[in-house]
Structure formats: structure tokens, C-alpha cells
Amino acid sequence: MNILEVNELSVILGGMKVLCEISFQVNTGDYVAIVGPNGSGKTTLMKAILGLLPYSGSVYFQGESRATFIAQKSLGYLPQRMSFLDQRFPATAKEIVLSGVYAHKSFPKKLSRQDSDAADEIMNTLKISELRDRPIGKLSGGQQQRVLLARALIQHPKILILDEPTVALDPQSREIFYDTIQKFNCEQHVTVLLVSHDISLMGEFASKLLYLDRQMIFYGTFENFCQSTAMSHHFGVSRHLNLPQTLNDD
């Protein structure tokens, strides 16, 4: 069953077409990695799907509009690591995690005991319970990212959208982070849509790859990606067979 359906999505920014008629479908339980070179439009595609940028075409979540889907607590989002995060921002890790429940609250929004329990539960699952009363700005990059992941997962979303979540993490934190995501994907069947520049690492975790270069070059499994004629044409045969370890940042 399709959880996400993107039809002929195009984005024009500053008079320039940065994404051209992208169409793809994501099945429930898929782990899709969106990869591509620098400036290929990976983050732009993610932001358009999330409604953060104007676009033409259509985006449906389980056949419904984004707003309806969000209201049903079904979407979790983890932005790129917040390098702009103010080190003195006056909020504890738990306050940040709790902000993930605001989507389904009606005006005026109020937090309940159940919300607090849900925050404790997800922090416990992600093994960050000891961070609950620590200021967010005082945490390490890896810890901050896990707190933001807890914020995205607190409502037990059906789909989790992540935008280069490990860009500033050390290799150990990165591995722990991807293991956690995979666990949620395998055990709780959370659909994952992840932007990454690390194509080889994505081969390890993702069930499907979407290769983007302003238009969709390839969409399918990693095995098919390695044998794809479209990719051979795009890279040139010799480069395609020696897959790049890492593609540049978006």
C-alpha cells in the first residue's frame, strides 16, 4: 500500500527550475534513501514534500492531503542538524521532545500527563532518559540529534522524513543513529524517507534508492541501482561500476 505518492512535482526557485517533474511512490514499510550530487535538489524535494516550499504537482500521504495526515499524528520529521541551534536556548531535552506533540493539539494547546509519559517513553526507548532535564544547548551533536529524533517519533508516526540527519556526527554516533532508524523501520514498520549524500552507507540500510539530479534519474532497489542502464548513462559506465563512496553535500 502506498504511504506517499508524489506526482509530477516541480519546483521553481528564483526563476530557475530546480526540480523537474518528479514522480514516485513509497510503500508502507519502505526505507527510501534520496541521494544525488551537490545541488541536485535532494533537500528541495524533501522540503516540497513537507510543504515548506511552493511546488507544482501533487503530494499525497495515504491518498490524503498533508494537513490531514499530520493532524492524524502520522508524520515525523527530523531536519538537518541544527547548526544554528543557540547554545543558550532555554529548554530542556524533554521540553524539546514534547514539542513533537503539538501537531494534533487543538487551540488552545495544552500538554497532558499522557504527553509527558509519551515523552518519557520515547526517551527511554532511544536511551536518552538521563538527558531529560539537561539544557538542549549543552548536549553533544549526537545527543541533540537523538533528542530531535525523539521529538519526531513521540507520536509513533507512520512515516519518518529525515534530511541529512548525520551530517555533523562522528562515525560512531552515525552508526548508532542509523541502527536506531533501522530498528524502527524493521520492528515498528515505520516508513523512512531519508536524504543522504553517503550512497554506500545507504546501500547498507535502505531498501530503495532514489537518485536525483534535478530530475529523477533512478528509483528502485540498491541491487537494481548497481545494474541500472540509466545510472550507467548518467555516471558513464566505468564510474558507475566503481560507485562513488560519498557524494557531495546538497
Binding site: 515548506l52 531536519p79 530542556t92 514539542s99 513533537g100 494547546k109
Partner: protein, 274 residues
């Protein structure tokens, strides 16, 4: 010491001091509460920008011989929306948009003041503030605006928190970011206009910035930061008014200096505790 207490007791008997204490505390509280959101969103200089626009509107009101604050409120509110529009639609950076509107406001004020003689003394009191001349109407307005600010923050607290921490994520959550931003800026414009009487257009942004930035040195919880900023703001007004009364200092500048001393103390406390 007993003499000092006697002098303070004597000061409290005066109705102009009572009005100054009430209006000053309420405006300072409003500025501090909004200041926490504005400072964290790096929008704190909007106080300065809107104060300069207020200067122009007060000059115009004095020229037209109308009540300056009531005349200024809608015009400054419009200017605040213009800053947001410039920021959003014309894709001009927030600080640049503030700078544009601010310089336009001060230039217009100077031009109006230069074309008319006879009201420059009144205009001067808005430039540097004159809390001891707060009228009954201004006192009631300051109470009403603080109540409006508290009500708004209570109703939109979680939205404001989410937007302040991560505006993009708030948008994904379906929070009406634009609406909340407009409400925040409109309230700021109202409190700025009234704050002119307390510390003047030159110093009003200090009431927005200093209590918030002082509280940020000491606490790590969002709610506590707002409460602590309010406590610093009210304390600075009360101490400032009495110190200025006892030492015959200008009250606006004294309030700002008390605020600044709180900030330095908090900074030292944080430095030595870490």
C-alpha cells in the same frame, strides 16, 4: 537608612510616583515577556526600529495637536507589519528591514520637528522618556496591554515555543507560523509606543533586550526564563524610579542602568558558577 526609608515612604504618597510605578512595571513586564521570544529569534532590534517610527508618529501627532500615544499606536502597528512584509515578500533580511523602517522613521520625525516650532520640548520627553508624567489614561492602557500580552502568551505558548526553537519544524507541524509572528510583532509595536513614556525612544529596546538576556544567563527552562525576565524587568523599574527620585537622576536612564547592572551580575554569576 531610616531617612532613606522615610524619603521612599514620602515618594509613594505622590500620585505621579504611584502611576509611574504601576505603568512602568506593567510596560516593563510586557517588554520582558515579548523580549524572550524576540531575543531568541534574533529579532530584538525591532524594538529600536519601531521606537524610531514611534518618534516620527509622535512628532506628527504633536504637529496635528492630537493625543500622541493613541495616534502613534495604529501607525506603529502598520510599520511593524511592513517590516514583516519586507522580510517575507521582498526577501530582505530581518535586520535590514528593521534598519530601513527605522531610518525612515527617524528622518521623518526630524523633518516634521524642524518644520514646526514650539513642540520640541514635548518631543524631547518622548525621546528620553518621562515616566513621572505618565497620565491616568496611559496607566490604564499599560495595564490593558499587559493583560493582552499575558493572555496571548498563555493561549499561544506552545506555538510560540515551537516557532522560537525551530520555525521550519513548527510549519511542518501545521502551526500557523505567519499568524503567530504577526500577533507577536503587533503586540511588540503596542508595548513600544507606551514604553516611549517610560524610558524614551532612545532606550526602549533595552527594556526588551536586557531582562531577557539577563534571565538567559541564569536558567535553562523556557518558562522560568520568561518569569525571571519579568522579575528583573519589574525590579529595575521599581529600583530605577526610587533611585532617580532620591538622587535626582533622569528616571528612564536610571531604569536602564539598573537593568544593565542586573545583566552584569548575572553574567558574573554564570561565569563563576561554570
Amino acid at each position: 537608612m531610616i531617612d532613606l526609608i522615610k524619603q521612599i515612604q514620602e515618594a509613594i504618597q505622590y500620585s505621579f510616583i504611584q502611576r509611574a510605578l504601576v505603568a512602568g512595571s506593567f510596560i516593563a513586564l510586557g517588554c520582558a515577556f515579548l523580549g524572550v521570544f524576540l531575543v531568541l529569534r534574533r529579532f530584538s532590534l525591532i524594538g529600536d526600529g519601531l521606537a524610531h517610527v514611534s518618534f516620527a508618529t509622535v512628532a506628527l501627532a504633536l504637529l496635528l495637536d492630537t493625543q500622541p500615544l493613541l495616534f502613534a499606536m495604529p501607525l506603529v502597528a502598520l510599520a511593524s507589519l511592513l517590516i514583516l512584509q519586507l522580510n517575507e515578500k521582498a526577501q530582505i533580511y530581518g535586520d535590514t528591514a528593521i534598519g530601513l523602517v527605522s531610518s525612515f522613521g527617524i528622518a521623518l520625525g526630524v523633518l516634521i520637528a524642524s518644520t514646526a516650532n514650539g513642540f520640541n520640548v514635548d518631543l524631547f520627553s518622548y525621546l528620553f522618556g518621562n515616566i513621572l508624567s505618565v497620565s491616568l489614561l496611559e496607566m490604564w492602557l499599560s495595564i490593558a496591554i499587559l493583560l493582552l500580552i499575558i493572555l496571548t502568551i498563555s493561549l499561544f505558548y506552545h506555538d510560540l515555543f515551537a516557532i522560537t526553537f525551530d520555525e521550519e519544524y513548527a510549519q511542518v507541524l501545521g502551526i500557523r507560523v505567519r499568524l503567530v509572528n504577526h500577533i507577536l510583532i503587533l503586540l511588540t509595536s503596542l508595548v513600544i509606543v507606551l514604553g516611549m513614556k517610560i524610558v524614551g525612544t532612545m532606550l526602549i529596546s533595552s527594556l526588551i533586550i536586557l531582562p531577557a538576556v539577563t534571565a538567559l544567563q541564569l536558567v535553562h527552562s523556557f518558562r522560568t526564563t520568561i518569569i525571571l525576565a519579568g522579575i528583573f524587568a519589574v525590579s529595575s523599574v521599581i529600583f530605577g524610579i526610587f533611585i532617580s527620585y532620591l538622587l535626582n537622576f533622569p528616571s528612564g536612564a536610571t531604569i536602564v542602568m539598573v537593568n544593565f547592572s542586573f545583566f552584569i551580575t548575572a553574567l558574573l554569576l554564570r561565569y563563576f558558577s561554570s
